[in-house]
């Protein structure tokens, strides 16, 4: 078990170092003279990664599928623009955005997470619709015409913030998954009744995780609000973003830290190609890719790769039966 713990610790250490190095490199891009095309591509990669990891923290680890992460990000975007327009400082505004999304998640979390996964999924769909309806009706939210950020921030600011959120969320999933609490969450995903028989308060775990996950989604949306600077409710609260938030981790490997990274890279690549070739079909094609991944790799690309490499590992260490006999 010492070995096992050593292996776990090594994975966390090397994984964290890799994440920090990537985060630093990507955050430095605005000063490294890369083209704005590359910088924008990296920004969107980080945006979808942050959103995907937020979804992953809840749905990937518990198996309770959320369709609300786009809407939660939208709440963050609206909150940050309203707060900044009220002359609040950036840090406070981002905090308000995260809290707003967290609070919104509690409404569905507390009411539906006692129940089965399908009730939760329907509740998240309901939230998505409810928020769109509210934002279009509420006077201070600008109605169907949306709202505009009054102050213009330098482009590097949302870039650096988004990379930091994406890197931080990935780090959080990496470390949490291998923590004792993370282990108990994975046990719960496998069998909730058996988990409660070993003292796990499943409802509480799910509510807390969903709230944390929503806060990250809200923060992600907030940073994107600063980036986009004008918000239209039909865009911000379209179901598309919620679908991307779940497609990214599912393609790459839900419940793993690496999965959403792969998923985000693949999705951003696909999106670039399809925006030229078939802009209207892009979510349909993402759906097809997702189906293919599920069909051929079951649980996403990262776990499939893991199995492949572990197999090679074993072959390297343990002699095959034929060799033993010879």
């Amino acid at each position: 078990m010492k070995v096992e713990r050593g292996r776990d610790l090594a994975k966390i250490t090397w994984g964290s170092l890799a994440i920090l190095a990537c985060t630093a490199a990507m955050a430095a891009l605005p000063w490294l003279g890369v083209t704005s095309y590359v910088r924008t591509l990296v920004y969107y990669g980080a945006y979808f990664l942050a959103l995907g990891q937020a979804w992953n923290l809840m749905s990937g680890l518990t198996g309770y599928v959320s369709f609300a992460h786009g809407a939660l990000a939208g709440i963050g975007a609206y909150a940050v623009v309203l707060a900044l327009n009220a002359d609040l400082p950036m840090v406070i505004s981002l905090l308000i955005a995260a809290i707003a999304a967290g609070l919104a998640s509690l409404i569905i979390g507390v009411t539906s997470l006692r129940l089965k996964g399908t009730s939760f999924t329907f509740a998240t769909l309901f939230l998505q619709e409810l928020v769109l309806l509210l934002v279009r009706k509420l006077p201070f939210a600008g109605g169907p015409g949306g709202i505009v950020l009054e102050e213009i921030f330098p482009l590097w600011l949302p870039h650096v913030l988004m990379i930091a959120v994406a890197g931080g969320a990935t780090l959080l999933v990496l470390v949490f998954r291998r923590s004792r609490t993370g282990l108990r969450v994975l046990a719960m995903r496998d069998d909730e009744a058996a988990a409660s028989a070993i003292g796990i308060d499943a409802t509480r775990v799910k509510i807390v995780l969903f709230c944390a996950s929503a806060a990250i989604a809200g923060l992600t949306g907030a940073v994107h609000g600063v980036f986009a600077s004008s918000l239209f409710p039909n865009e911000v609260f379209s179901i598309d973003l919620s679908i991307i938030a779940l497609a990214v981790p599912l393609i790459g490997g839900a419940g793993t830290a690496l999965g959403p990274v792969l998923g985000a890279v693949i999705y951003v690549g696909l999106r670039e190609i399809l925006q030229v070739l078939a802009p209207n079909l892009h979510l349909t094609i993402v759906g097809v890719v997702l189906l293919l991944v599920i069909l051929f790799m079951r649980d996403g690309i990262a776990p499939a790769l893991g199995r492949l490499f572990r197999l090679k590992d074993r072959r390297g260490q343990v002699p095959a039966i034929a060799e033993v006999r010879a």
């Binding site: 078990m1 010492k2 096992e4 713990r5 004792r180 609490t181 282990l183 108990r184 994975l186 046990a187 995903r189 496998d190 069998d191 009744a193 058996a194 988990a195 409660s196 028989a197 070993i198 003292g199 796990i200 308060d201 499943a202």
Partner: protein, 238 residues
């Protein structure tokens, strides 16, 4: 001897099915109680009510004089009830060691929890399988993993639901010996549908049929009970 568990007139109905009909029992600490009865007698349902998987339709359940009738399963587990499932329910995505580690209360001890998990696995003979996926175990191993996971809670009361079913003869005698050794640590209720194989290790036993207790007392009393003899020990009504 102090009472660890008291069940008072517990009933359970599933729609039209009256699965448990007024069962009462008391368990003293350090006692091994056998719970016997044919399939469908209501043994598992009684366990589920004691462990809190669902509440009784009526009746009361007390753990060490505390009324836990309405408490959820996780709270009863924390209060000291460990249970196994008749149909094994391992966490299939975790390794064998992780299954046990997950059940050790977080932040409870000063010691090394991973070492503790290994100790428990060693005790049930699963240490060589520690790093294997739980989903890959044979039935005999899964039954032992169920016991190991329940033991990780350091329960005061251990509910074992047919841990011997489906095991080979040697596995059965090993596990039975092991269970007997656990009496020093916990009070135990052992469910078996085979009276003969485990009555010998019990301090006391209860026999259920069709949701009700039809006999209870010392192993000798149970052996002599005419109803039990008819139903289980293969004797004709004499």
């Amino acid at each position: 001897m102090s009472g660890i568990l008291t069940v008072v007139d517990a009933h359970k109905r599933f729609g039209g099915i009256h699965a448990v009909r007024g069962v009462s029992l008391a368990l003293n600490s350090g006692e091994l109680l056998g719970l016997f009865g044919p399939n469908g007698a209501g043994k598992t349902t009684l366990f589920n009510m004691i462990a809190g998987l669902y509440p009784p339709t009526s009746g009361r359940i007390e753990l060490a004089s505390r009324d836990v009738t309405r408490e959820p399963a996780f709270r009863r587990a924390r209060a000291g009830i460990g249970r196994t499932f008749q149909v094994c329910r391992p966490f299939r995505g975790l390794t064998v060691a992780e299954n046990v580690l997950a059940a050790i209360p977080p932040g409870s001890g000063v010691g090394d929890d991973r070492a503790r998990a290994r100790e428990i696995l060693d005790a049930v003979g699963l240490l060589p399988k520690a790093e294997d996926a739980a989903g890959s175990l044979t039935l005999g191993m899964l039954k032992r993993l169920e016991v190991a996971r329940a033991l990780a809670l350091e329960p005061k009361l251990l509910l074992l639901d047919e841990p011997l079913a489906g095991l080979t003869a040697s596995e059965t005698s090993d596990l039975l010996g092991f269970i007997q050794g656990l009496k020093a640590r916990a009070s135990i209720i052992l469910v078996d549908h085979n009276v003969r194989q485990s009555l010998g290790v019990c301090d006391r036993a209860i026999v259920m049929d069709a949701g009700a207790v039809i006999a209870s007392g010392s192993p000798d009393t149970i052996r002599r009970d005419p109803g039990v003899r008819r139903a289980y020990l293969g004797e004709s009504a004499a």
